[in-house]
């Protein structure tokens, strides 16, 4: 089949959604399809820009290219799924969350003005049309499927994306807890630093970079974590595989995450995951005392959970192995079969 994968691009920013779209395109080609990635810049402000950028996708004629028919388009993230095609599948990474659950939070975008309130509703109306017209609607996690059901009353099939292909292996269960995250507030690295401070001897490696790094390093200093909390910054794929291979367990607890690739990566390295009850997507596979620990988002609970893993290598090993068995089920063959069915 000739397939176009549609994904918006925020120039100079690259995250999980972009990687996912690229990977899907690659895997489709690997499976004998002719696939290509279509992308457009996305800007969601000021004012109604969020709508006019959706309109750009709607105007893109992807039914045929250079005289050859396109058999299928796969929309992913808002607003790429506004694209029009007689055979449109959406693999929903996420909607424009500012118009839904992030509204009236510190991460929200729309003010209380009449125009902003109506703008938010126009985004919802657009979603209802663009997602409702898809021949098939998939979601990258139960959390995303639940949201689209709650927000729009639409049923989405959960199609879990596999983790990136690293040289996953398990070398040892050393005495440090690993965090792999972009460093911004929503990823809740503060909580881990506070837990390390409360524990007194816990060692952390924090991989990743982001706008919150300076503040987090200051939090670590203030809590006397010099030497116990290592900010590794952006690491190479090889370094990341090494960290997974040697850590005792992985901390991953963003707020209401859409999906979260990190638990799958941790499991591929046979490492358990500590997460929180409000983390969203990770809860699809992190099950308390089966593949990791699920706690309330409080520093003292997190300290206890990490300490348990550090003091109980056998449990860490068993839960990591159980996680691996789950993560191995999530393959690109399965994703593509679900998307094309």
């Amino acid at each position: 089949m000739r397939i176009l994968v549609c994904s918006p691009q925020v120039p100079f920013a690259r995250g999980g959604a972009e990687i996912l779209a690229e990977r899907l395109t690659h895997e489709l080609n690997e499976q004998g399809h002719e696939a290509d990635l279509v992308t457009m810049p996305f800007k969601w402000y000021p004012g109604a820009k969020v709508l006019t950028h959706a309109l750009m996708w709607r105007m893109a004629d992807l039914t045929e290219v250079d005289g050859r028919r396109v058999d299928l388009v796969i929309g992913t993230k808002f607003p790429s799924y506004a694209v029009k095609h007689p055979n449109k599948v959406v693999w929903l990474v996420h909607q424009f969350r500012q118009a839904y659950e992030l509204d009236r939070t510190e991460l929200g975008q729309f003010s209380e003005s009449d125009e902003d309130r109506a703008l938010r509703r126009a985004v919802q109306r657009l979603d209802r049309v663009a997602l409702g017209e898809a021949r098939k609607l998939g979601a990258i996690s139960q959390n995303v499927a639940d949201r689209v059901k709650r927000n729009l009353g639409l049923d989405a099939e959960v199609i879990l994306p596999p983790p990136q292909q690293l040289a996953f292996r398990c070398d040892s269960y050393d005495d440090f807890v690993l965090s792999v995250n972009r460093l911004d507030r929503a990823k809740r690295i503060d909580l881990l630093l506070e837990a390390a401070a409360a524990d007194g001897s816990m060692r952390l490696v924090i991989a990743g970079d982001g706008p919150d790094r300076e503040r987090l390093e200051e939090v670590a200093r203030r809590n006397g974590l010099d030497g116990r909390a290592v900010f590794a910054g952006r690491v190479s794929e090889g370094e990341l595989a090494d960290l997974y291979a040697t850590c005792r367990g992985v901390y991953y607890a963003p707020v209401d995450e859409d999906y979260g690739m990190v638990p799958y990566e941790a499991f591929m390295a046979r490492k358990p995951v500590v997460t929180t009850r409000d983390a969203g997507g990770p809860l699809d596979i992190v099950h308390d005392r089966e593949t990791g620990l699920v706690i309330e988002p409080r520093a003292e609970e997190l300290a206890r959970a990490c300490r348990f893993l550090l003091d109980h290598e056998e449990e860490a090993r068993a839960w990591g192995n159980a996680g691996r068995a789950i993560a191995e089920q999530v393959t690109w063959e399965r994703v593509i079969a679900q998307l094309l069915s």
Binding site: G47, L55, M59, D114, A118, L119, G153
Partner: protein, 394 residues
Amino acid sequence: MPPERSGIADYSALLLPALRELVDVEVARKGRPPRADVGLYHVGNNPESHAWIVEQLRREPGVVVLHDFVLHHLVAGMTLGRKDGPGYLAAMERDSGVAGRLLGLGVIDGCIPPLWEVRPEDFPLCGEVLDLATGLIVHSRFVAERVRERGYGGSVWHVPHPAWPAPDIAAERLDGGPVIGAFGNLNPSKRVPQLLDAFERFHDSHPDARLLLVGAAAPGFDLAWRIGHEGLQEAVVQVDYVDEERLWALMAGVDVVASLRAPTMGETSGTAIRALTLGKPLVVSDVGWFSELPDDVARKVKPDEREVDALVDALEASTAAAAEMGAAGRALAERHDLRRVADLYVAALEETVGGEAVRDEVLREVSEVAAEVGIAPASAEAAALGRAMDEIEL
């Protein structure tokens, strides 16, 4: 609002608390309109309940919840009921031209029977309300399509009828079974004669079957005679108007709910929604909103010459598949979740208040960019832009 006895009053009472969790709501009372950013008018076909609401709508246009598409009875009450013959004739002419005016004259002169009794669906008389509505909330595609056919150009929001949460009550069940229940006013338009005919045949093959009729019989509708005529005195039980709690208890005690009507005024049915909440299989008339119910929750019967035969089949099929239909009904009721319905109401109100500014901004940006690249306003490219904007409801 209650204590008035109507489906719309029950509906409003159900919706109001959920709406108040999202926006500030002042409830308007007759003669005391509150000040608000936007008015929300519940309009149905009953002049006693809704005439004053339409009068307020005339003073201050706003969003109309069109509970009935056919408003002939309402308009007749607001005109002929107040000795305003010219008003009725004007409404008829607006609806159906000179022919409508002449028919109206025939009604006034007593030459033909009242149209609101014999052919209301042919003369819905909703034109004035549509003209006054700055936006419309409807409960069915049926009504959405009818108002567009009538040339309504404003925003139309299709908002499902909210479902009541399942009450914690004990079922009140008749002896015998299967028990078929019909709830609401008992009159010919609720197809009670046809239901009795069908039940009489159903009863032949199910001697313990019972038909429970809950509601007041319409004046002139001789229900007792009809029951006696069918020889069903033992099998049919009639209960007059009951309060909400008993209604739930009685409905919980039946095996199948029959919610029939023809002609339709474009209304939804609170009875049918309650039945879904309770997981009761439905037998409905294949008209209007009822036709839009999924096939796995309702057996649909066309109100034609085969109606009684089809009703017998539908009663058989729904009693046989009660468990599956009931489960599907409960799942559907969840999609009519009250909080979601309230949020859709707020969406309609927010779009009414701020939507024009958003549309203007989108249009301004699109037209500026289009002009910059040489797309003329009347060109095919501009038309394509317009179509794309329409498609995603910009």
